[in-house]
Symmetry: C2
Amino acid sequence: MKVAVLGAQTTKFGELWNNSPRALLKEAVSGALEESGLKISDMDAIFVGNMLSGILGGQEHLGALVSEELGVSIPSFKIEGACASGGLAMHQAVLSIISSYYEKVLVVGIEKMTDHKPEETTSALMGAGSDEERAAGATFPSLYALIARAHMEKYGTTEEQMAAVAVKNHYHASLNGKAQFTFPITIEQVLNSPCIAAPLKLLDCSPVSDGAAAVILSAESFALRNKKQNVKPVWITASQVATDSLGLAQRESLTSLKAVVSSSQKAYQQAGIKAKDIHVAEVHDCFSIAEIIAMEDLGFYHKGQAAKNIFMQKTRLGEKLVINTSGGLKASGHPVGATGVKQVVEITHQLQGKAGKKQVKGANIGLTHNVGGSGATAVIHILRNI
Amino acid sequence: MKVAVLGAQTTKFGELWNNSPRALLKEAVSGALEESGLKISDMDAIFVGNMLSGILGGQEHLGALVSEELGVSIPSFKIEGACASGGLAMHQAVLSIISSYYEKVLVVGIEKMTDHKPEETTSALMGAGSDEERAAGATFPSLYALIARAHMEKYGTTEEQMAAVAVKNHYHASLNGKAQFTFPITIEQVLNSPCIAAPLKLLDCSPVSDGAAAVILSAESFALRNKKQNVKPVWITASQVATDSLGLAQRESLTSLKAVVSSSQKAYQQAGIKAKDIHVAEVHDCFSIAEIIAMEDLGFYHKGQAAKNIFMQKTRLGEKLVINTSGGLKASGHPVGATGVKQVVEITHQLQGKAGKKQVKGANIGLTHNVGGSGATAVIHILRNI
C-alpha cells in the first residue's frame, strides 16, 4: 500500500488567545492545500482529530462543522482517541483512500485548550484515563511519574537523563519558528524547575497548547499524475494502531507500552523495514520519560539503553537518528488532537527537504509515534520519500 | 463492493438505570457475536459510535475503553457525528473492510443519557448544533418545530398527519420487545399531549434513552466460507455520507435535508437500485416531521406527498414499503450514538426473516437513514439478502 502526502502545514502552536478554533483550522488547511497545489473543492472527504471540544466547549459534530467552515459539503468525520486523536484520524484517512472510496482527503487535527481554567483542562484530559484513576484524583503528570519511578528503579534511569530529553527538544524547537517554546534550556534549569509530580519537574512536562495541523493525502495514482505544482509526494508505507488498558493498574508492565511495541512491529513489517532504517522520528514525549520509553519500545535502543544515549546527545540534530526535530510535544507544544497530525507534517517536511534550520540531512525514511492516554492507544506511521 | 453483516443485536432501549454503560456494551456485543458464530478474539478492529460520553460523563477514549472491556487489545476507534455517530461508525467500518486492512470488525453504538438531569442532557445535545443556535437558547425540538412550520406552510402538512407518524411507530414498537415504548397510541393522544415546541407535542418527539447496539461485519470472502453456524449473511451494498451546514439559518431550504438527498442518491447508484426497490427502511424520526421529510428526501414520495400517505397508513406493517418496523427513534428509543447501529440491526433481522411479529414478508432490500443534528450529517446504508 502507498498513500501520498501532497501537502502539510501547521499553525504556530502556543497560547493563542487571539485565534479562534475556526481561524486556526483555516490557517492550517489553507497552508496544506497550498503546498499540495489543490483546492478544498478537490477534496473528497475530511477526517478531524479532536479530543476536548465536547468536554471543554460543549461543541461536538466537528466533522460537519469543519466541512461547513471550509465551504464544502463532503463526508466529514470526527475521530477521537484522546491524545492519539490526530493519529487515529490519519489512520482512518489512509484506510479510506486504500478502500478507493475517497481519492483525495484532508486530515486536520485541532485543539483549543488555553481558553479554560487550568483545573478544567486538567480534569477534561483525565477523560482519557480509567474510572479508577479519575476517582483517585490522578492526573497525567502523576501517572507518568509512576512510570518514571518504575523505569528509574528497573533500569537506573536518572533525573538528569530525563532532563536531557527536554533540553534536546527545546534546542530543536529553537530552530522551529512555529514551536510554542523557542528558547533553549539547560539540564540545571530542568532539575531546578518546580516539581509537578516527583520525579517530574515542570520542564519534564509538555505544555497546554492551542494549534492545528493539516495534511492532504491522496491515492498513489492521483499523486503520480498531479505534477502541476512540482509537488514532491511523500509516501505513507505503514499505518498501524494497537490498544491496551486505559489504566496503568491493568498493565503487564509500567516500563514499556505494549500497544507501542505491537503497533510498531506491525508497521516495520508492513513497510518492509527495520527500526535501524529510520532517519528521523517524531515521538510522543508528553513527559520526558515517555520519549525514553518510546525509544526502547520502537526498537531504537534495547530496554534500559535509551536514557544514557539521549543524555550523550545521540538523538540530537546532526546524529544518525534524530528524534523530535519539531521540538516534540515538550517544546513544540501539545494541542492534543493536533499532535498526531503535526508529527506527520514535520516528517513530511523533513523527507521533502523543507525543514529549514532543523533539516536532517539525507532523511529518506521517517516515523511518527502518537500515544493516547498513558498508552491505551498507540498509532504508528512510517513515511518515505523514495 | 459487498460487506457482510454476520450478526446484529441490540439491548433493550429505555430508561435503564440499573444497567451501566459497560453492561449495555457487553450485552449488545455478546448478542451480535452469538448470532455471527464468532468470538471477540476473532475481531480485527472495533468502531464505536458515541456522542455524549465526554460532555455528560467526562469519559473520552472510548475506543480503548471498549477494547479493554471486551478483553482484547485490537485497533479501536471512536467516531463522533452527533446523532449520526452510529451511522458514521458503520461507514468507517465498511471502508476499513473494503481497504482489506481488517477482515472482521465489530461496530458498537452506545449512549447512556438518563443518568443526568434533563437540562444537562438537553444542553449537551445542543453540542450538535451551531454556535448561533446554542447562543440563542435553541433546543432540537425548537429547531424541528421551525422545520415543521415551514413544511406545513409550503405543503399544507397538518398536525394530524405528523401525529400519524408517531401512531404508526408506536404500533410497530408494540411488536418489538426491545423498544422503549411498547404501548400503542392514538392520533388524539398525540394531539392532546403537552406542547413542547409548537406545533410539536410531546408525542411528536423521540425520547431520551439508554441503550447499545452491535453488528459484526466481515469481508465477503470470509462470509462465504464462514458456514459453521448457518449464518445467513446480509450484504451492505451501499454506504454513503454527506454533510450540510450545522445550523438551519445557513440552509437553502428548511423543508428538505440536502445531505439526505445527495447521500441517498449516491447510495441508490452504488447499490444499483432505485428508491422504489426498497421494501423496508429505518429512518431517523427524531421528530414526527423528520420522518415525513425523510420519506420525501429519500425519494419514496414526491415532495408534499409523504404526509398524506403516512396518514393513510401506507407505510405501516402489511404495506408494500414499511417504515421503522423497530418503532423508530420515536418509540423504540433514541440513545443517540446507538441509533445508527440499531437501524442496521433491525434491517438485518428483517432481511434474515428474524424480525418476529414485526417481520415484513418478503423483505429483500432495506435502507437505513441516520441523521446528525438538524441535518448537518446524513448517512445512508443499503442492505440486501440476495
